[in-house]
Every structure is written in C-alpha cells, then in structure tokens.
C-alpha cells in the first residue's frame, strides 16, 4: 500500500476517496437496494404480502398509494435502481479517484443527493397525505439520508479539482472526464 499522504487532496487532513470512507457507503447502498427491491417486488405483485411489524396495514396503504404510482414504474423499483447506481458509482475507481475520475465522483454525488431528497419527500407524504407509516420505507429513507453527508466530501474534493483546473486555464471538459494528471500538480 502506498502512503495516504500522496492521495490526499491539497489542504485536506484525509482522503475522501479512501476505501475506509467508501466501503461502508457501498454497503449501505447494497442494503438499500435489497430493501427497496423487496418493496418493489411487492408493488409489482410478485410478492403477496409485505413485512410490517409496527404500523398494521400501514405499509400496504403507503405502497399501494396513488402517489407511489405517479410514474409508470413503482417508486420502490426506481429507488432500488438509484441504490444500484449509488453502489456502482461508489465502487468504481481507486483511492485517487477524486482527481482521476471527477465525473464518476460527481455522478455518485448526484445519485446520492437527490435520492436522499426524494426519500425525505416521500417520508413526509406518509403521515400528511396518507395518514399511514411504512417501516421498511422509513428504514430505506434513513439509509439514503445517512449516506448524503459522507458522500458529499468526495464531491467537494472533485469540485475543487475542477475549480483549480479552471483557474489554471486547463481544459475543464478533459479534466472532468480524464482527471488531473499527477504531473499537473507540481508547478
């Protein structure tokens, strides 16, 4: 293993792309994928009943609500797709990916951020519009929200790379896709 010093972004005390920062996020995304995948299978009618330990028929009410069918595909299916993108975009690239693959880091951030936001909106809808709660939906929302903060530090590091590229009149588009070469840092 190489020293972590060289992989840290300038002015940072740690490396946001290190595996210790990313592995548990990938794990959370996989758990989220399994939970919302299960809920999606129920919404599609492939599974007959859904696990609900606390709120009686709450999960059925929430998962069969008109709101969950606004789009052609049930919302939990879309959720599991988003978690799958989280997991893959979180896993691709090495521990220097904040500067070698800004596009992947930013895709990861876009997948995690809005997914979390949509989860919060759906949670708000449960009591206010439907007067019902759904345990696994809440658990999935908690997972999405917990992922936001720890994912965004890496996005910040990549945005700082793009900012520096712009300041030094380097081609922003190339840096976005191909990253900043190691040599470019020594001035």
């Amino acid at each position: 293993m190489t020293s972590t010093v060289g992989t840290r972004p300038p002015g940072w005390t740690y490396n946001p792309s290190s595996w210790s920062e990313r592995l548990w996020l990938i794990g959370m995304a996989v758990i989220g994928f399994l939970i919302s995948g299960y809920l999606g299978l129920y919404q599609w009618g492939i599974i007959d009943s859904v696990w609900e330990p606390f709120f009686g028929r709450g999960s059925e009410t929430v998962l069969h609500s008109p709101l969950s069918r606004v789009l052609p595909v049930p919302d939990a299916v879309l959720g599991s797709l988003a978690y799958a993108i989280d997991a893959v975009a979180g896993a691709v690239g090495g521990t220097r990916r904040w500067k070698t693959m800004p596009w992947m880091v930013i895709l990861f951030g876009i997948a995690v951020g809005p997914l979390g936001l949509v989860s919060v909106l759906l949670v708000t809808a449960q009591p206010l519009l439907l007067h019902a709660w759904c345990t696994l939906c809440l658990l999935s929302a908690v997972i999405s929200i917990v992922m936001i903060g720890p994912a965004m530090d890496e996005v910040l590091a990549s945005l700082q790379v793009l900012k520096r590229a712009k300041e030094h009149d380097r081609p922003l588009w190339t840096v976005f896709w191909k990253g900043e070469s190691q040599a470019a840092w020594s001035r």
Binding site: P9, P10, G11, W12, T13, Y14, G116, V120, V123, T124, P127, L128, W133, I145, V146, I148, G149, P150, M152, D153, L156, A157, L159, Q160, K163, E167
Partner: protein, 115 residues
Amino acid sequence: MWAPALTSMLGVWLTAAPDVMGYGGHARLSNQLVGVWMATFGVIAMSECLRALQWVNLALGVWLISAPFLLDYSDERACGSLVVGIAAISLTFVRTPVRERFGGGWTSLLKKAEQ
C-alpha cells in the same frame, strides 16, 4: 457531532408526536413537516464537511416557536412546540470541535484564485 445528532432526535420526536399523543389539525401538519426535515438536516450536519447545514435547523426552530401563535393553537401542543424549538435553536449554537480540514470547504469553490 452530538449536537446535530440530538437535533435529529428532536425531529424524530416531533414527527411521531401527533400520532403518539393523538392530536391533529395545524399542529400535526406543522410538527410532522418540520420534524422530518429537522431529523434530515440533523443527520446530514453530523458530517463535518456539511456542518453548516445545521443552520437550517435554527430556522426550523424559529418556526416552531412562532407556529403556536401564527397557526393559533395552544395547550400542551404549543408547549411542546416551544420546548423543541428552543432546544433546537440552542443546539445549533453548540460548538463542537472540527477535526478535519477540507481544503477551504464549499466556500473555496466561490472564492477567486489566491496568488
């Protein structure tokens, strides 16, 4: 980290309170709407690089203090709203030491290049 974590607990309580205590109306609407977002921003602000988002909860706390007067409800619901609001506001002023540095943080993206 404990202060935003505690704030998110307040948010969870606020969300659950109308169903636990059995009340409805404007108090329910206000508490559940504010509660979900307070819990969310509490959790997000636990990350040091997004600690600044705890100020959203300051705004939500101010709303909780004003809500009983603006939405015209009283008794123990108003009392709960005031208590949680004051607690949430106080918690945003708790200074927890920040251990990590982030290359100038999010504001560095807006600043001009330093020579």
